[in-house]
């Protein structure tokens, strides 16, 4: 099995050389931290990942969770991990001191999550889910709710979940049916069913705290009638005990990959005794969820990047060791075979993976820094940062998810037949990676979010901000000889992007919303590639500057690797935009107009 699943050199490059993460420590909220602290945290995260998570990667896949009389048995590693994360303060690491957290920046924590996710994605999900759920309670819940639930969630004793999906409400959450009936005792009575709820029940914890969306009786239809509740599996009694809360796990699903974490079907209120506590105000539930959505979606992109990262390093190791074939120009048939990494096509496969993996990570970390700036940056910049984050979120969710699958597939290809067999982790990574375009809003939903909402929001302000940022990066890159062609190429791509977007917006203005959004997914793919080119130019600019006065051989090699991968992206990937632009400009509505009946036979 491959031992290397992540590059600390690359993480350090992004954290300190590209994003200047230490600069966050000048903000009052983060002022207790410094680089030494960050480094120790990264080192500890790597130890936890290497010693606890990675060794359980295959076993958690092969021995998937089992449902036995209402309880889901998961790997014993889960309990140990949650305990370690709880005791170590990892689950509440980003929360404020006031809420028992450590006020660490998301930029740093993203790096830690990448390390853990690359070691074992399924295992890494448990603590992260608790973090998200607890964060919702801290942000919008009453002090009583915070006191009753958050400490045990941060301690790793109770599992947090996000419970939204129902059989009839997946992408279309507004159609959810779970009902909440008010009582005079400070809680609501809940009845309904949820499906696909990650970690909604398992024996690695004492209790599960579901952050659940439901409709209060008599609430308005649609988005404006959804409320957010805390719905525990066991509810605290007036003493300090716990009693069952009429939440039952009635099933788990058997999945393609990501098998170490169960997804559950939950029934609430079979005995009319499922109590739910309102978070924030009635009918604001979806808004609260959406405020967390940017982070959750960037988190999905991060998970996808993590798996693809592990796959890349596993395939890289293999290609150095596997001897097969001879150089094309070699004449001697009895000459020894060469390691396959020497073949141009294998280098291409590795470059493709590296371009996707390191480009995605760069975008994710960039978004994480925006999250920190929105949260704790100077007041005057917050709105701008929030707008840019809003725009980038569907891209940061989708590019790594969709392209991550192709990257892992390419990694698998590097191993030939062994890639398809379970002696190597590639086949598992391939299955694990497939979830990411699906959960937290499918790719189709992200496409409509980008084109239908983000491009047009505030009169196109977010879109303009994005264009400005890319333009600025081009200006910064221009002084480097090695990046001249890339600057021109990206400038041209920006012009074309404005053109395409303008044409599409004309359709919207003419009321042809169906045509406008018909190829929103393609538009997302298109902007995704341009965004990646931008991130590669950002990285390459830093690398070029560093190369100018670099004596260390290893560093030089690293920066030259960055330059070459940037060139690869611009020469192999960015040109794909032309084809996408061609299609997007046609606007003939082929898919809109096509009669569904034509799919018969």
């Amino acid at each position: 099995m491959a031992e290397i699943f992540v590059s600390m050199r690359n993480l350090n490059f992004l954290l300190y050389e590209v994003l200047n993460t230490e600069s966050l420590c000048t903000l009052p909220y983060f002022s207790d931290h410094d680089r030494d602290i960050f480094d120790m945290i990264l080192e500890t995260g790597l130890a936890l990942a290497s010693e606890e998570l990675y060794p359980a990667l295959a076993s958690m896949d092969k021995k998937a969770p089992v449902l036995e009389s209402g309880s889901v048995r998961v790997s014993p590693v889960v309990r140990e991990l949650l305990q370690a994360c709880g005791e170590g303060g990892w689950i509440g690491a980003g929360a404020s001191f006031q809420h028992g957290g450590q006020q660490l920046p998301d930029t740093l924590l993203s790096a830690v999550r990448l390390i853990l996710g690359a070691a074992n994605y399924s295992a890494s999900v448990y603590p992260v889910l608790s973090t998200g759920a607890a964060q919702l309670i801290c942000s919008f819940g009453s002090q009583e709710l915070i006191d009753a639930y958050v400490p045990n969630m941060f301690a790793g004793l109770w599992q947090g979940t996000m419970a939204m999906t129902e059989p009839h409400a997946g992408s279309s959450l507004t159609d959810l049916k779970t009902r909440a009936t008010p009582t005079k005792r400070g809680y609501y009575l809940l009845a309904g069913q949820k499906i696909f709820i990650s970690c909604g029940e398992h024996d690695g914890v004492e209790n599960v705290v579901n952050l659940m969306l439901a409709r209060i009786e008599g609430a308005p239809a649609g988005v404006k009638g959804i409320s957010l509740f805390v719905v525990p599996k066991l509810r605290p009694t007036t003493g300090s005990g716990l009693e069952p809360n009429d939440v039952v796990c009635t099933g788990i699903y058997h999945k393609l990959g990501y098998r170490g974490a169960p997804i559950t079907q939950l029934e609430m209120g079979e005995h009319s005794d499922c109590r739910a506590w309102l978070v924030g105000e009635e009918n604001h539930g979806l808004r609260y969820m959406f405020q967390m959505m940017n982070e959750a979606r960037v988190g999905v992109g991060l998970g996808a990047t993590a798996i693809a990262t592990a796959a890349y390093y596993a395939s890289l190791e293999y290609t150095k060791e596997r001897h097969q074939g001879r150089p094309i120009m070699a004449k001697e048939p009895t000459a020894p075979q060469v390691p396959i990494i020497e073949h141009a096509d294998v280098k291409r496969m590795l470059l493709f993976q590296r371009a996707v993996v390191e480009g995605s990570l760069s975008l994710i970390m960039y978004c994480s820094k925006l999250i920190d700036q929105v949260h704790a940056g100077p007041e005057e910049g917050r709105e701008r940062h929030a707008l840019l984050l809003d725009f980038l979120t569907p891209i940061a969710k989708t590019y790594p998810s969709e392209m991550g699958i192709l990257a892992v597939s390419t990694g698998l290809q590097c191993l030939g037949g062994y890639g398809y067999c379970d002696e190597f982790p590639l086949e598992q990574y391939y299955r694990d990676a497939r979830i990411h375009p699906i959960h937290e809003g499918t790719t189709g939903i992200q496409g409509m979010d980008l084109l239908g909402r983000k491009v047009t929001m505030k009169n196109g302000a977010a879109f303009k901000l994005f264009l400005g940022k890319v333009q600025q990066s081009i200006e910064n890159a221009k002084k480097h000889e090695a990046l001249q062609a890339e600057c021109t190429q990206l400038s041209d791509a920006l012009v074309q992007l404005q053109n395409v977007t303008g044409e599409l917006l004309n359709l919207a203005a003419a009321g042809k919303t169906d045509l406008f959004l018909a190829d929103a997914t393609l538009y997302l793919e298109y902007v995704g590639i341009i965004t990646m080119a931008w991130q590669w130019l950002l990285q390459a600019t830093v690398a070029e500057a560093a190369l100018a006065n670099c004596d260390d051989e290893a560093d030089k090699n690293f920066y030259l690797g960055k330059r070459t991968t940037c060139h690869y992206f611009f020469r192999y990937e960015l040109p794909k935009c032309s084809a996408l632009a061609t299609r997007l400009l046609q606007t003939d509505g082929l898919t809109v107009k096509m009669d569904v009946g034509l799919f018969e036979d």
Binding site: M40, A84, G88, G89
Partner: protein, 258 residues
Amino acid sequence: MKIVVLIKRVPDTASVFQINDAQDGIDTSRLKFVMGPYDEHAVQEAVNLKVAKDGEIVVVTLGGPDAKDKLLTALAMGADRAVLITGDGVDSLGHRGIAEALAAIVREESADIVFAGKQAVDDDGSQIPERIAEILGWSHASVITRFSLDGATATVDREIEGGQLTLEVPLPAIFTTEKGINKPAYPKLPNIMKAKKKPMDETSLESLRLSATDLCNKVSIGQMSLPRQERLTRILEGDNNTQVAELVRILKEDEKAL
């Protein structure tokens, strides 16, 4: 009770090692450095002892400024204070010199107990704690897998060939730790953040009233090379006579085995 822990910053053994250009040492420029893996157990045992019996833990190392981050790790694991012996002459010390310098700190701190890893994984010397015990005239038990303390007597287990030895050791004493003794805990985030606020003192050979010239290493390394990595399989061709002749030649000339 005062507990001193001795640690060393060593290359991660998972690193790829290369010999330096002068061929008299390891090229350290590409190496990742960690706290000695056995030293982690020593720090953890001190922390466990402190939890059980109270006291103060002082973690000590000798080396350049780079060693500070490993002291910081020990502070994050639960040590209270750190001392770095650094400055002129520390690089030139041999085992004896290092032991003298560390013994000086142990004396200065009036320690009751010293824990150290059973060996440093860089040169595998297993020399320093034993020499310190000798210098101080203290009791000493090495490679321990269990430690307990009752008043001023420690009871320890050490693995020996085919069995186990249980020893009672009067304090003050020095113990070196073997892997199974405990599971080093991952530093907790709040402790990582507190670590930087804990005192870290620097001292030099001079302020310990030691002479670098007297203590400098008397052993010099003539040449260092990597062990041969691959099994060099050779298939000899030809009839039996040719093969035997070739085999004898290889054993004599190439391998110098005959």
